[in-house]
């Protein structure tokens, strides 16, 4: 099986290199037949990489310990879903997964655009083929997933127990898919430059891919945050780890692009800006891969010592140079003579949003690279703490959130300021009422109150606008609210998907603000019968249970939870020792309500029954996951094809 897998990858390398060369040659000479052959080469690459993925999964499922990768990342005791997920548990396998996703995306993109965007598809496919060839080259040389094991092993090392969580089955492929998906918009942007077609054709071709990549990254990051929260036991969900930042930065840039692409379609301006954003998102995705695989920064995510870092850095450099050369060659097409509209317009607010997204990304990038920069320029490695990011990115995100609300009241053309402020009165009132209620229940910190005011303002602004449009349609079509609502979403899925995403973002913001400003934490050493008081909660420690499973020794603490004399049930935080991994792992117990999470970690136990408990109360965390769900639904709605025969009204707002 291993030999066939290796042969597939070598053939994939040949096919993708041929495909890239043939696409470029066919575009230069307009040879249709050659282009078809090149397309088949790209499809064959997809088939070959898919086959090698199937072979590796089969090897994992059948415990083929003749393959080193299977020995390193799986064991006989693992269940089928985790065996499949071992495909992306290690360096070589995750690279194969990313290559496979890129191959599938490229095949779909090329087939979809083959007739529709014929002028653009050739060079775009060439860029995709080059990227695939680079990744496959790594797979056949330095990161061979089918490498034979030196000694025949009877049992594999298995999965790191921390990764035994359903979230870890989906989190890595989502982020890899996001990274891979960003290649497609970049490919079309390069093609737009290469063919000298500014227009909006390339935007139409890449919109779906940009939304999909954004969705992959967004949901992937949120699931990663959820995993960190329930599995790692430090009570938080985001630590501004370099690799987390690497997943966040391309997402911020592609978010900016989704907004400015709407602006380009509306106004015809922003072409150069959009090209730059798409290219930047792609560069950041490659940079993220470089970070994970080079080990130059310390992070929980890295695959150190893989020797891939330099190669990714080289590829990144080549991509940046190629893009800049194209920009210089086509500089005459990038100018636009028309002056920008006033700042008090949709265009102005979109531009401001864009600048903020790019600025936030730049600051996050600076923070991520600061340890390296300080080492090079000052001689000492200075790590940037969480407080830097929270202080810098927090306010910027808040302003962006405020703009979500304000954007609802701007129009694409000039609008006088007075009616705009008149429309804004209602959500401002909602925001102030929210502030009054919050102060009433004891939320007094200025920053938190401001943040929640902005949240209330933004979410009510979105709802008010939505309701207005719904009423308009209901009156125009004389239908019920439900029919009008469905019709509205079907007529412009991008726009209403966008509304939902905005609502999801506000919910996430509420969760982040609540848990960042009002979280409390304490640690206590308790004997059976002792009570730990935490806010309104009383936690009564009753004792521990011990039991064994084939691969672990488990200690469970029994903790009864009461509040005001009323029993709220029982929590059982666990701590276990994994035999293969020789490391203790905590299994957190969480009691979730709409208002707050009670989060209990068992830090350790003693023979005499005493236990060390860490208890946290994290307000509003549930809303982060709810917001993530809304974001997913909104993203899927935005990807939904627009209803036909709906007229064109409002359709240009897609992807807002």
């Amino acid at each position: 099986m291993a030999e066939i897998g290796s042969v597939c990858l070598v053939l994939a390398l040949v096919a993708s290199v041929y495909s890239a060369a043939a696409f470029i040659a066919s575009e230069k000479g307009r040879y249709r037949v050659l282009a078809e052959s090149a397309r088949n080469g790209l499809l064959a690459t997809c088939g070959l990489v898919s086959l090698s993925v199937v072979l590796l999964v089969a090897a994992l499922l059948t415990h083929d310990f003749g393959i080193q990768y299977v020995v390193s990342y799986s064991s006989r005791s693992m269940s089928v879903p985790y065996l499949v997920s071992a495909l992306w548990a290690g360096n070589d396998g995750s690279l194969l997964t990313m290559t496979w996703l890129l191959a599938v995306f490229s095949a779909v993109a090329v087939v979809r655009s083959w007739r529709r965007d014929r002028e653009l598809v050739g060079y775009a496919a060439a860029v995709m083929a080059v990227t695939e060839a680079f990744l496959v080259l790594l797979l056949v040389s330095v990161a061979d997933p089918f490498e034979q094991s030196v000694v025949a092993a009877a049992e594999g090392a298995g999965l790191n127990p921390l990764l035994e969580n359903p979230a870890m089955i989906v989190h890595p492929p989502l982020l890899l898919g996001g990274y891979a998906g960003l290649t497609i918009p970049f490919a079309f942007a390069m093609s737009s430059l290469a063919t000298g077609q500014p227009g909006i054709r390339w935007l139409t071709a890449v919109r779906g891919w940009a939304v999909a990549a954004w969705l992959f990254l967004g949901v992937g990051n949120i699931i990663g945050a959820w995993w960190a929260y329930v599995e790692l036991g430090w009570g938080g969900y985001w630590s501004w780890d370099p690799v987390e930042n690497a997943g966040l930065m391309p997402m911020l840039i592609i978010t900016a692009f989704l907004h400015s692409s709407v602006a380009q379609r509306r106004t015809g301006r922003f072409y150069a800006w959009n090209l730059a954003l798409v290219a930047l998102a792609f560069f950041l995705a490659v940079f993220g891969t470089f970070l994970t695989r080079s080990g130059i920064l310390s992070s929980v995510h890295t695959f150190t010592g893989t020797g891939l870092g330099g190669l990714f850095a080289g590829f990144l450099g080549a991509a940046v140079i190629a893009f800049l050369v194209m920009v210089v060659v086509r500089r005459s097409k990038l100018r636009n003579g028309t002056p920008a509209a006033s700042m008090i317009s949709r265009e102005g607010t979109f531009l401001l949003t864009n600048v903020l997204f790019v600025g936030t990304t730049a600051l996050v990038l600076l923070g991520t690279l600061f340890p390296l920069l300080s080492e090079v320029f000052a001689g000492t490695r200075i790590e940037v703490g969480e407080s830097f990011y929270n202080r810098v990115a927090g306010p910027l995100f808040l302003v962006i959130l405020g703009l979500v609300g304000i954007c609802s009241f701007t129009r694409w053309q000039k609008r006088s300021v007075r009616p705009m402020f008149a429309d804004m009165a209602a959500p401002l009132v909602v925001g102030l009422v929210a502030v009054a209620v919050l102060i009433g229940v004891g939320v007094r910190q200025a920053y938190a109150v401001t943040g929640l005011f902005v949240c209330a303002f933004a979410v009510s602004a979105v709802f008010i606008r939505w309701l207005g449009e719904l009423r308009g349609r209901r009156n125009a079509r004389r239908t019920g609210y439900l029919a009008a609502g469905i019709g509205l979403v079907r007529s412009a899925p991008g726009r209403y998907g966008g509304y939902m995403v905005h609502i999801g973002m506000v919910l996430i913001a509420v969760g982040v603000i609540g848990s960042s400003f009002y979280g409390s934490e304490r640690e206590a050493v308790v004997s059976p019968g002792d009570t730990v008081v935490m806010g309104d909660y009383e936690l009564i420690y009753e004792g521990t249970d011990r039991y064994e499973t084939p691969d672990r020794l488990v200690v469970t603490a029994r903790v009864a939870v009461e509040s005001g004399g009323k029993s709220l049930g029982r929590l059982s935080p666990e701590r276990y020792f994994h035999r293969t991994y020789k490391q203790p792992v905590s299994e957190v117990a969480i009691r979730t309500t709409l208002v707050e999470d009670l989060y209990v970690v068992l830090l350790g136990t003693d023979e005499d029954g005493t236990a060390a408990l860490k208890v946290l109360v994290n307000p509003a965390v549930l809303w982060i996951w709810v917001g993530g769900g809304v974001l997913l639904v909104g993203g899927l709605v935005a990807l939904w094809p627009r209803a036909r025969h709906e007229g064109d009204m409002g359709s240009e707002d897609r992807g807002q």
Partner: protein, 85 residues
Amino acid sequence: MSTAVAVIISVLVFGCIAYPFVRRMAGVRRESVRGRAEYADLDAEIENRVRELRESGACFCPRCGRKVNEADRFCAGCGASLRQE
């Protein structure tokens, strides 16, 4: 066994890549089939052009800027008349 499978896969891949050329050569004898394919290409081309026109020369309401259909007399958004001249 593995060698045989590897050979089969290789043949398939090179077959895929070579197929358009083979078809082109064989196609000389099947003029009609090629003709139809070219018409299909032409259709796609026309569709492309039409879409381009639609996208570039779309109509907008002069009062509220909402996108309207060319045949509309009034804007569905603000009710402004679209037939001044």
